[in-house]
């Protein structure tokens, strides 16, 4: 096939994906009502995927979750491996910047960060020794995680005033 036809198809596909996930203008010839329904379904799928791997975060947010995720999703494309773990972790950072992160979300992110980090949109296992402390003011807990060679991983959880 000609490079022109391929190029043209590539441009149209890119335009369509951006319209669906970022809300940019879709090519005029599409049925816009249907595209809206498809965009909504994509967002719902993304939300369900995050809710399944970040259950504490999502439960504690209640009804605020859907609206916040929609706002986040407009400016934050899916990570390249499409992983809801990575997507949810970036969402948590977004919530923290917006002052919307709950203690439950903070704790779940803490547990994730003790074991993984995200590089270029992919989840990577963290190795090596580690000591981290998290103070949760509303839940009034102090959480400590330690990882040492031979000893392994230890979690400590204290009530604070």
């Amino acid at each position: 096939m000609s490079d022109d036809a391929r190029q043209q198809l590539a441009v149209m596909q890119a335009e369509l994906v951006r319209a669906l996930v970022e809300g940019t203008d879709a090519p005029a010839t599409f049925d816009h009502e249907r595209l809206e329904a498809a965009a909504e379904a994509l967002l719902l799928k993304r939300a369900r995927a995050i809710a399944r791997v970040w259950p504490q975060l999502v439960r504690a947010m209640n009804d605020a979750f859907t609206a916040s995720l929609a706002a986040y999703a407009r400016d934050n494309p899916l990570p390249h491996d499409g992983s809801p773990l990575a997507d949810g972790r970036v969402f948590i950072a977004w919530l923290a910047r917006a002052g919307l992160l709950t203690d439950e979300g903070r704790l779940e992110a803490f547990a994730f960060d003790a074991r993984y980090r995200i590089r270029h949109g992919a989840v990577i296992r963290r190795r090596g020794p580690l000591l981290r402390v998290l103070r949760l003011a509303r839940l009034r807990r102090l959480i400590i995680v330690v990882r040492l060679p031979l000893v392994g991983e230890r979690w400590l959880n204290y009530k604070i005033l």
Partner: protein, 287 residues
């Protein structure tokens, strides 16, 4: 009568149910969720048990107008080897363009240009895979404007040009027939059923007059009817239920699997009656 395998898509949430059910001997794993170097133990046990395990890809994006991602392709190939799979499957769709992920399967424009891209990518994928590739029709909430052919014609030509097998999703066909006013029976008649590797079925719901193939709700009677219609025309080696979310009680899933087996049987009975009819007609000199 040949007996079709009735299977279910393996998900971590279903691992226990499948482990406890030796009659399930055909499953699928979502390729993107399994690392070849770190295969979940329940899957290794199923392989030991002799269960057929099909790696099912969702991220190759065979319809994107760009060369295939070689890493994803190698991943699928390794899984096929790890599981000793008779074939692997993917979709006639695209999921990304210009580096942007859509997060779900999107339909292709049914044009000659898109067909050329698709056929080239399928051939490239086949060259890198150690086993045959089966391709699935998707459910879509919208269509591209200015289609140059029907979806059946599009799929049939893609399969014929590449020699790929068919993974027919009757729930996706049901969804598209409802949402785009297609004639599902015409669609079945037009398909190259001699290429049928296996069949998908799943549930969904209607929201705002559109049918959503969610894999999170009960299988609708209409999809089971289509399965019966299919089995009246051809014998599917296996039929697999896809359930991805809102997992119900085990008993409910067993009821769904039973309903699937019953639909296959009804279809098979109709097929054997039809072939008896044509034999009688032949004997009477009608054919």
């Amino acid at each position: 009568m040949q007996i079709s395998n009735v299977g279910i898509g393996w998900r971590p949430e279903l691992a226990l149910m499948i482990a406890r059910a030796p009659q399930i001997n055909f499953i699928e794993v979502v390729a993107e969720n399994i690392l070849p170097a770190d295969i979940p133990r329940p899957l290794l046990q199923l392989k030991e048990r002799g269960t057929t395990i099909i790696p099912h890809g969702t991220g190759l994006s065979l319809g994107t107008a760009a060369p295939l991602d070689q890493k994803r392709l190698a991943h699928l190939a390794r899984l096929a080897e790890k599981f000793n799979a008779p074939f692997v499957s993917e979709h006639i769709a695209f999921v990304r363009a210009a580096g942007r992920e859509a997060g779900h399967l999107l339909p292709l424009p049914r044009t000659r240009a898109a067909l050329d891209v698709l056929a080239e990518n399928i051939l490239a994928a086949q060259a890198a895979l150690p086993v045959p590739l089966a391709l699935e029709n998707i459910a879509a909430l919208f269509e591209w404007p200015a289609a140059e052919m029907s979806e059946v014609a599009f799929i049939t030509e893609a399969l014929e040009r590449s020699g790929a097998l068919l993974l027919l999703d009757v729930a996706n066909l049901y969804a598209n027939a409802r949402n785009h006013d297609w004639d599902a029976l015409d669609y079945l008649k037009g398909l190259p059923l001699e290429r049928l590797a296996y069949v998908h079925i799943a549930g969904g719901i209607t929201r705002k007059r559109l049918y959503h193939d969610t894999h999170a709700h009960r299988t609708p009677p209409g999809a089971l009817d289509l399965l019966e219609q299919l089995c009246a025309r051809a014998w599917p080696p296996a039929v697999l239920l896809e359930r991805d979310d809102h997992f119900p009680a085990e008993a409910e899933l067993w009821a769904e699997l039973d309903a699937i087996a019953a639909a296959i049987e009804r279809g098979a009975e109709r097929r054997s009656l039809q072939s008896e009819d044509s034999l009688t007609q032949a004997a009477n000199g009608y054919v």
